[in-house]
């Protein structure tokens, strides 16, 4: 993930904002519902992460494009309606294209609507920025979310045969806590917030 020689050097910074150790699942502990429920295997985590990424990018795009016309009073219902419609579309496309994987995580795709990460990015970033930065922001946060979801899934899948608790819902809490602690360690060593 190198911000290579693009003319706009801030593009890389936008993309990296939500990636790495600042991914909101670890830094802000938001959007945890799918993290805990679906991260039982690498493939399931990756699949739900990709679906979330698609929703996040497209919702950021639409919200940033429509924000100038939407008055504050209607902001929340309008954004929720858009996100709901996008999740429905992604859910259908997912079922049509990746049927096998859908069998594993299909139950959780509609729940992406409730992932506050998506509304949070739309509200706090996309609504006040242009279409391109909003897209990059969604891409970065989405990739960070995938990394966490798939990583947690891989970890639980690897530990489950020997360590029963890793496969159980409680195990997701324990491992997430371990990852949060690791993040604190790294961030403090670096001396940056």
């Amino acid at each position: 993930m190198t911000p290579d020689n693009t003319t706009d050097s801030s593009a890389g910074r936008l993309l990296l904002a939500g990636l790495g150790w600042n991914t909101p699942g670890l830094a802000g502990l938001i959007g945890l519902c799918p993290l805990l429920a679906v991260s039982t295997s690498f493939a399931a985590g990756l699949a739900l992460g990709l679906a979330s990424l698609a929703v996040l990018c497209s919702s950021n795009l639409l919200i940033s494009a429509l924000a100038p016309w939407i008055t504050p009073r209607f902001r929340l219902p309008a954004f929720l309606l858009l996100i709901g419609a996008l999740v429905t579309a992604v859910d259908l496309l997912f079922e049509a294209r990746w049927f096998d994987l859908y069998g594993q995580v299909g139950l959780f795709v509609p729940l992406i609507v409730t992932n506050c990460l998506i509304l949070a990015r739309g509200e706090s970033f996309a609504a006040h920025h242009g279409v391109w930065p909003a897209f990059l922001d969604g891409l970065g946060y989405g990739l960070g979310f995938i990394a966490l979801l798939a990583g947690l899934g891989a970890l639980r899948e690897a530990l489950a045969p020997g360590l029963l608790v890793a496969a159980l819902p409680a195990g997701a809490f324990f491992l997430l806590a371990a990852l949060v602690a690791l993040r604190q360690l790294v961030v403090r060593r670096r001396g940056s917030a």
């Binding site: 219902p77 858009l82 419609a85 579309a89 259908l92």
Partner: protein, 219 residues
Amino acid sequence: MNSGSREEPLIRHRAAGPRNLAALAVVLLLAVILIGGSWQSTRQRIADNAARQIVAQISLVLPGTLYDNEPNKDTVLKDTGGGQPLPIYRARRNGSPVAAVLTVSAPDGYVGPIRLLVGIAADGRVLGVLITAHQETPGIGAAIATEPPTWLTGFTGRSLTDPPTARWNLRTDGGDFDAIAGATVSSRATVAGVRTAVHYFATHRDEIFSTPSSPAATR
């Protein structure tokens, strides 16, 4: 509570301006287009996927040389004991019944019901067992559904009288079937599911094959 006090409403309602309504209408329209468009463009493929999956699953529990019809289109819905009607796919050769695939929901899995397909030959012997849906613990109970399904092949060739009904259980319960190590509950539920299918087939054989195909169950 002071019942006499009057409270200021938390939100003051102002009349919604035409601009607001127009913006909301645009968002609504966009949502309708998004949902309608994706539904319209995917529904055929989703239906095909489901049909293809059923055909693939049937071919895993029935030897393909056995039949010459399309069992996924020769289907009846029967309640095999779980309280809900589930599809039975009938395999025929030259029009005469050779086997059936029963869908069973074994209610007592570790986490929830375990969904099974059990292929049974006309003489009542099991041809193959496939687990199509379960929520058992990954790495533990989920071992019942691992690929290749070595453990499930232990049912092949068995029937209602082999072993006798009393021994259609796990070895730990005084039966003939080994449990998967560490997955006793999931194994027990699976054995019970196969037993249900075999028993239902043996007691309803003629009814299964003579009931006209139900279009509701056909994919």
